[in-house]
Amino acid sequence: MDDPGPEGRFGEFGGRYIPESLVPACLELEKAFRTAWSDPAYRKRLDDLLRDYAGRPTPVTDAARLSEALGVRVMLKREDLTHTGSHKINNVLGQGLLTLEMGKTRMVAETGAGQHGVASATAAALFGLECVVYMGEVDTERQALNVFRMQLLGAEVRPVRSGSRTLKDAVNEALRDWVATVETTHYCLGSVMGPHPYPWLVRELQSVVGNEAREQCRILLGGADPDLVVACVGGGSNAAGTFAGFVGTGAALVGVEAAGGSAIGHGIPGVLHGMRSYLLQDEWGQILEAESISAGLDYPGIGPEHAYLAARGRARYTSASDAEVLDALQLLSRTEGIIPALEPAHALAWLVGATRRGEVEAGSTVLLTLSGRGDKDAETVMGLLS
């Protein structure tokens, strides 16, 4: 996937739609990242942390019993096995190092399901940074355990009571904090969204997922690439990182959104949180609330590079319903002994449905990114299944 250039454009999408007060900080961040990303010393520090602290490379598991059940060969990229339990750690270690490079002492972050919040709190602890995490009040309730984890890690969690009280409002509040504190504070954005350089920066930091998976698949497939690569999409960071490794191969790319937050399925081009992309909105441009059992996918937009991949037909975006997701979560738990988070269970749910509908040819090879583990959702799932 390409460098979006100084204007941060992916075709017509992306850009930098932010208040003037934040422009210098975004320019500074872009410059810092461009320098760091081509600096072998920065790359080595990051690689060392990814290996020795986060536990990379994560394995690809050849899921035999699941494959038998679906009639296709499923390989799972196991981001659930990283430290903190999701792919979010890849991004925060990179941004934590950048925070130090820029001489800032504080970071703010938004979180939906809490995975990025926990990862940010973890990086802040590791690097000795002050950390404030904004989380929609609705999400603090359905992810109470993650709130406690962030607090244990020394972060302050601020519940957001405005708007829909979910992820989109947490982003608003983090931006409001950042406008007032930008001289000392880095905004550690958790997905491939927001103003330039974030969509590109976060994709680059997550590309380790796809780059590892491509090589691991080649070992399993005797040098071949999978026919199909599937990942769930909220803002779209694990999908972007996964696709980055396969966009140059012949693999078909599929992103799966929550049915109640399907920005590409039901969205219209617009501008939110600093980017132009597809958004759930009404006829006057008011942003609509996404709705899903998965707090991590409750976002009315999608990263601009996904909008671009969809527009040019390189990736396909679809959705899975809450009921399909619960079925898929149980299927993976019982066939492979892996309890996935609700977010990647969307990717699996689509695959289950697609194989049953005959949309995926029997015997196909499929790489599916298991972006996080299910511990955080155990209580939610227990409630939904009882």
Partner: protein
């Protein structure tokens, strides 16, 4: 309603030796919001910003957020707000304050035409920086809407000059690093930015954000041509004040500015 051109009006106020007083009202906030607008003008406002409420106002603090969500809950939208202005009796310029997605969704040309049809002659889009605003500036100017650009305390000199060059109507100086809302005192950054702007442009320079009372208005206007007072007036309205009471507050600020 026929609009009043922004820049010539503000220059005339400045040449008369007065400081420019800009007030703000959230469009569609309660059935009497146009009465509030008229009361503000009667009390001495030289220009009124009409806030177009938006679901995700990232540059606004709690007061304007609350005013916006209340107006939206009452069914306000750009068409209903601008229609309501048709009957307003005001002889000062009206300028829309809108987040860019509202403009983008309507389409630049259509939105600009809606403004001019309602007698609104300028627009402030706080989330549209220089790099993204050229298209809007051209479409707005073509329709007779002055695109007002914002400058921040952290804006470097060369950007500040570009903002002054491209802004029309006036240049909006943001007093402080932060969102809109009442503050205990005027930030020190206000005077510094106002001086930098005045050194760069002859266009009216008006400072806003965090100006809550007459004394603060006087302090913030010292180096500038005028000030914007918004959240403090909206707070009053949200707490149940009637248009006359809001007018009294505007009059107190007017008197303080006129010394």
């Amino acid at each position: 309603m026929t609009g009043v051109a922004v820049e010539s009006h503000l220059r005339a106020v400045r040449e008369s030796g007065r400081k420019i007083l800009v007030t703000y009202v959230t469009g569609g906030l309660g059935p009497g919001w146009v009465d509030v607008l008229e009361a503000m003008v009667a009390a001495g406002a030289d220009l009124v910003e009409i806030g177009i409420p938006y679901s995700d106002p990232v540059m606004d603090g709690p007061t304007i957020q609350e005013a916006s969500s209340r107006a939206l809950a009452q069914g306000a939208n750009p068409a209903s707000i601008l229609d309501a202005l048709a009957g307003a009796q005001v002889a000062v310029p009206l300028v829309a304050m809108a987040y860019y997605n509202v403009v983008f969704r309507a389409g630049h040309a259509r939105f600009a035409r809606m403004l001019t049809d309602a007698g609104v002659t300028g627009a402030i889009l706080p989330d549209l920086p220089l790099e993204e605003s050229a298209g809007w500036e051209a479409d707005a100017s073509a329709a007779g809407v002055a695109p007002v650009l914002l400058a921040a305390p952290v804006t470097p000199d060369e950007r500040l000059a570009e903002i002054c060059r491209r802004s029309h109507g006036f240049v909006y100086g943001v007093n402080l690093m932060g969102v809109t809302g009442e503050r205990a005192s005027v930030a020190a950054s206000a005077g510094v930015l106002a001086k930098r702007l005045k050194a760069l442009t002859d266009k009216p320079v008006i400072m806003g954000f965090g100006i809550s009372d007459p004394a603060q208005a006087v302090a913030a206007a010292e180096e500038a041509d005028g000030v914007v007072v918004a959240s403090a007036l909206m707070r009053q309205l949200l707490d149940g004040a009637d248009p006359d009471e809001v007018g009294d507050s505007v009059q107190a600020i007017r008197r303080a500015l006129d010394g």
